[in-house]
Amino acid sequence: MFSGKRLLFFIGCLLMATLALGQTRYTLSGSVKDAQSGEVLIGATIRVQQQPVIGTISNEYGFYSLTLPEGTYTIQVSLVSYQPVTKTVTLTTSTHLDVTLAESATQLQEVLVRSQAANEHITNPTMGVERLSMSAIKQIPVLLGERDPLKVLQLLPGIKSAGEGNSGFHVRGGNSDQNLILLDEAPVYNASHLLGFFSTFNADAIKDLAIYKGGMPAQYGGRLSSVLDVKMNDGNNQTFHAGGGIGLIASRLYAEGPLVKDKSSFLITGRRTYADAFLKLSNDPDINRNTLYFYDLNAKLNYTLSTKDRLFVSGYFGRDKFGLGDLFNIDWGNATGTLRWNHLLNEKLFSNTSLIYSQYDYQVGIQNGSNDFSLTSSIRDYNLKQEFSYFPNPAHALRFGANVIHHTLTPRNRTATSESSSINTTREKSRYSVESAVFVSDKWQLSPRISLEYGLRLTSFAVLGGSEYYTLDANKTIVDTLSYPAGQIVTHYVNPEPRLSAAYVLSDNTSIKASYTRNVQNLHLISNSGTSTPNDRWLQSSNVIRPEIADQVALGFFRNISDNRYEFSVETYYKALQNQIDYKNGADFQFTDALETQLLFGKGRAYGLELLLRKKTGALTGWLGYTLSRTERQIEGINNGRWYPARQDRTHDVSIVGVYQLSKRWTLSATFVYNTGNAVSFPTGKYRIDNAVVFNYTERNGYRMPAYHRLDLGATVQFAKKKNFESDLAFGLYNAYGRANPYAINFEQDVYDPNQTEIQRITLFKMVPSITYNFRF
């Protein structure tokens, strides 16, 4: 077992090694910002012309630091869709240099091709990472015109949609709960609205989005498959702006501006759907009495306290409401809050302290006259994170820190809501745990050709008392109920998570990369459905549920073609998973509070090949992605212990995305997806019980849904700018050729001929048009 002491020793050695270098040198540091809005820019490349090997990237807060010998240097700062800036600096002492970049107009895109950042793809050792800019997201057509970053992500190789129109996703064979979704560092436990048709991310509020499919740096942890790191806009600190959009099912509004120019800014965005407005149009009281809507609010304040200190407060609040007359209602939502303090300890050492709150809860109300009751359930986190970025010399970029999260998981509390209700009011005790981690990582330019990113994360998960835990026998029956006093440690899991990725640059435009990553997950989503539903329940690791562990190795080949105009990559991966969860045969979630009794545990494996050819510049941009993959589980009690395909296993997955700038005003776009159907369980026969026909399911996930394919089209017209008022109109057509992709397949006794059975296909969306008007001033 890896001890904490040994880790500290390791960190110490690492620091000593890097500190020993880099004396007699000076540091150039500062922030990279957008010229118009004052927003800090993430991921800008800072290069030194005199020393082509040396370079750095601005971090999540726009901060960069480069340590160089005394001398005069030409510094180039570049970022996709910004005009690169060149500055000459004479370093005779450590120097602070803020750089502002201006957004490039369309005709300037040719310049970008030649910018240094263009071969970042080749040289960065981190593998399996994808960054999406919001401008790309805004061009891609989506269901009902609601721009949705999560749906654009699903068009990348290795990332698969959880279902028709669904914002849930599977990364490299992982379950949808194995994605760590962060909004300004706060975990979002249920990133979907309206049963997954929309995500909680309002495009207006979002600055940057990065997803790690593997090789995640050591500062991230807690989920097996991926990290989706979403950063909110900081708000324009130069001038006031407002904007919004009016769409078929939702409208959006935002406002941003300086509180004190250059010093502080605010951003507030809101969105609400009005799907229920259509229901109100119906004359049928059974329909018009229903409610169905959601809203999102994002807000952020940011203060520059001094040249060394910045403070951010950001929050998200979203809620879905659904009601079926006065019979049934459910509302659910996330709330997150982040308080962050960026502090520059010195020009080489950057500190970020965050206090994070995150909550997800749902309430269900059922009124059926006799058994009225409500159910409430929640998960709540308090999270403290301290992280340092240290730039000892140009060859190293270190990150280290620690993180403590206190989780409170409140299971379903049932309350009788009428005098006559026969339901007993029950209070299940909340379960508590403390998840903590220390981490260190170093990005090391070993030689002009070799770069490494290596690190270690040590996680501890302490299950705390205060509620009941169960001892189960082999048949999953509770044989003993264990009660622990509050604060006592029930079980404790400690896991080291090594992370390593390396790049070897073969030539200016070719590299190979390899990575190994271990991830551990202690919160598990127990879903009673394949898609995300609001009443899915999170469970923590316990004496029965062991931490899920994934080891992933990946190997990649990267090549840029014709002067970096095209990026091509091949990545292969193999993942071995431990303590995976599936349901026992005939599992029941309706009458069972102790969910542990319904679960089976086993192992998993996932492997695949991902191809991506991308064109980033020119009038036509887009990509072509292909994934060949397999995802399997082996769990005692399912299919006689044989390996079986996981539900999300899809052999082939193709996506084509194209955006074409037709003229200054018109942009056209199209996406096409094709994938093998999910693995499903279909009956192999039927029999009779009493007087009903019952279907005989002999094998789990032994069949396939029919192949899925779909073409979406989009067009955006930009109206002439009047004073400061800009606007555009976006048209979309989802499933343009009306492919009947099955959402579900049901097996039924024939209504007209009870002596026969039939197979019914439910199709949700065929040729759904949309129109959205967006404006900004």
């Binding site: 005939g586 789990r700 002596n755 026969q756």
Partner: protein
């Protein structure tokens, strides 16, 4: 799944398709029940068929079937009355007694054990109207008092003008223990009309039988392959047969829908 229903009512469609489903060897299906009533006590033995066949399930006519009351030691060796139907004539169920079913077909034998739970009376059957998205439905309502001790399980069967509905509807006392319970019986396989005579059977069943029928009830739901993978519920029969053996009490009441 109600959300999907609401959303899909705006854009979705349903059609009938053909799928190439595997063929399997016919499986033996045993339905055994012994009740505290004079009728309905029988063992039925049939076989499963492939999905694309008609719903005609071949009876097994050459079975050796016996039910034994383990509490009294009395055995009833059953004789076939109709093809595949083996009535229990010498035994009537008594709450608290344990019963053993043995079935031998050729070389293979199957067995199961069942204990009859205490009897709970059905106080009243009435009806209610239930507003759903797709209109108003008349539902039957059963009223009973759950005993103070936990661990009671119930199965309800609707009879519309004497014909049994094929809906499986079971309840556990997990959330209602010890209460006077007014239970609406959701049954989407029948449409109750004014003038109908509705009878409701309330059976007090064992936990294993509850789990079996609860599993069957989930298989009857819509959009099942969108949810948890459908699986055969575990029955209480040993030897690899499908089906169940239940010892249960039956209480019946009737209501005429005005």
């Amino acid at each position: 799944m109600l959300f999907v229903g609401l959303l899909s009512s705006l854009t979705s469609c349903v059609d009938v398709i053909q799928l190439d489903l595997n063929r399997t060897n016919p499986a033996v299906v045993i339905e055994g029940r012994i009740t505290d009533q004079d009728s309905m006590n029988e063992v039925r033995i049939t076989q499963s068929v492939d999905f694309d066949h008609a719903n005609e399930f071949p009876p097994i006519t050459n079975a050796q079937v016996a039910v034994r009351d383990l509490t009294t030691g009395q055995t009833d060796s059953l004789h076939q009355s109709f093809p595949g139907v083996y009535p229990i004539t010498k035994l009537t169920g008594v709450p608290g007694h344990r019963y053993q079913l043995t079935v031998t077909i050729g070389e293979k034998s199957y067995s199961a054990l069942a204990t009859m739970p205490p009897r709970v009376e059905l106080d009243q059957v009435s009806y209610t109207t239930d507003n759903r998205l797709n209109g108003t439905s008349i539902r039957t309502v059963a009223t009973y008092t759950d005993p103070a001790a936990p661990g009671n399980y119930y199965r309800f069967v609707n009879y519309q003008n004497g014909l049994a509905s094929r809906t499986f509807f079971v309840r556990s006392d997990a959330f209602i223990n010890g209460n006077r319970v007014v239970q609406t019986i959701r049954d989407d396989n029948i449409t109750i009309q004014p003038g109908d005579t509705m009878a409701v059977d309330m059976q007090c069943i064992e936990k294993a039988v509850f789990e079996y029928f609860n599993g069957l009830a989930q298989l009857q739901g819509d959009n099942i392959n969108q949810g948890v993978s459908p699986t055969n519920p575990p029955g209480n029969l040993s030897g690899g047969a499908l089906g169940y053996f239940s010892a249960h009490t039956v209480a019946r009441r009737t209501v005429v829908i005005p």
